[in-house]
Amino acid sequence: MSEQHVQSVLHSAPGSGAELLEELGMVLYVGAALIFVVVMGLLLHAVFSRRLRASARAWVIGGGIVFPAVTLFVLLTYSLAVGSAVSALNSGTALQLLLNCFGIDSNARIPPPLPGTLRINVVGKQWWWEVRYRAADGELRNVPLANELRIPVDEPVELMVSSGDVIHSFWVPSLAGKVDMIPGRTNRLVVRTSEPGIYRGQCAEYCGGQHALMALYVVAEPRERFYDWLRNQAQPARAPTDPFLRSGYDAFMQGRCPECHTVRGTPAEGTSGPDLTHIGGRHSLAAGVLKNHIGTMAGWIAGSQDVKPGNLMPDSEIHTGSQLRALAAWLESLE
């Protein structure tokens, strides 16, 4: 199990765009504090000093006009440079020059994606994330998943984010800045990190009653493990072998579950809810709300409206106790 990182802009992942944002933040916090201290010092000096300074005019022009103008200009260009480096939207020569002035090599940090870059579509929905991998490899084209992203370390990954209903915002503070998910529009975000681990993210644009419970995990793994995982995710679900799991499978198919959920390799092909083909291998249930084990699975199926009131999944009222357990056990077996 990889290490889980704190979800915080102050804990940016090494080699990520968030690292530049954290540096920018530090420059602003420390700079603002210094300026505040100096201004307060001058204020106290002006109040308590008896002597009238002959150079008052110079202070007004220097400290009131020249200093703020220069400081703000430098900060503005610096923040624009960071913004461009983080989003890697553009790397024109003039901009490149500007980036180099501040010691930021945008190409080293986040190169513009080459053909063959791993591309992941993420669609925000009330209140979960639909994820679709589009790797260059023919076999791995179009792998649908939900509520969890995995990325290889030391490799830029292109996220194409959009929305299926209202405006959401994709935000994994340790990896990158926020990018809005807007209906009818696709925004692009390139993420990258050199440190394996589990990064938490969440929706950063109010999107309805359960906005606060719309989270996800991004798991960064070494390249080989990542591609093993992706190959496995592309496979359909295996048929249940043991009779107990079989009864769980039957409970799923006889209930209303297939109306909304897909389990690839079975007749369940609903598309309004998350794809469950490999749900047992995810770190969370209900979009980052619950840990994933058989108990939370059963509880979520039977009481989803208690956990996340107003979400589109109705409480299951048709399964007997043992059917519910079998259903949860079967879903947990789908790794």
Binding site: H293, I294, G295, A298, G299, G321
Partner: protein, 122 residues
């Protein structure tokens, strides 16, 4: 207050005392640590299905509410509410009650004891 009134109040007091349940047997788990138990309940997110006082967010309605659990007479409606039985039940309910909706949850014997201890402390 007249003497009759005092006698009446005293008599009423005694009658009401008689209505109260006797301080009887209260189960407890000697080796279990209730504080640890509360952490385990939170960690395993048992609150998805149960209302558990003292555990943040534990307001599930899938299973029974667990407030004042020491005063329950039966576990799952079929076993006496005994510390050893409860310790077994929280870990592996289906083996004791095959129709139950509560799955066997992966945890250690010690964690199960801590959970039982916490439930009896409510």
């Amino acid at each position: 207050m007249s003497v009759t009134a005092r006698i009446a109040i005293g008599w009423l007091y005694l009658v009401l005392c008689g209505c109260m349940a006797p301080e009887g047997y209260e189960p407890h788990v000697p080796e279990g640590d209730p504080r640890q138990g509360r952490e385990v309940l939170a960690e395993l997110e048992c609150g998805v299905c149960h209302v558990i006082p003292g555990v943040p967010g534990a307001r599930g309605r899938v299973g029974p509410a667990l407030a004042d659990y020491k005063r329950n007479v039966y576990i799952a409606g079929r076993y006496p509410n005994d510390p050893d039985i409860l310790t077994r039940f929280v870990r592996d309910a289906p083996s004791m009650s095959p129709d139950t909706a509560m799955p066997a949850i992966e945890m250690s014997e010690a964690q199960a004891r801590d959970i039982a201890a916490y439930l009896y402390s409510l």
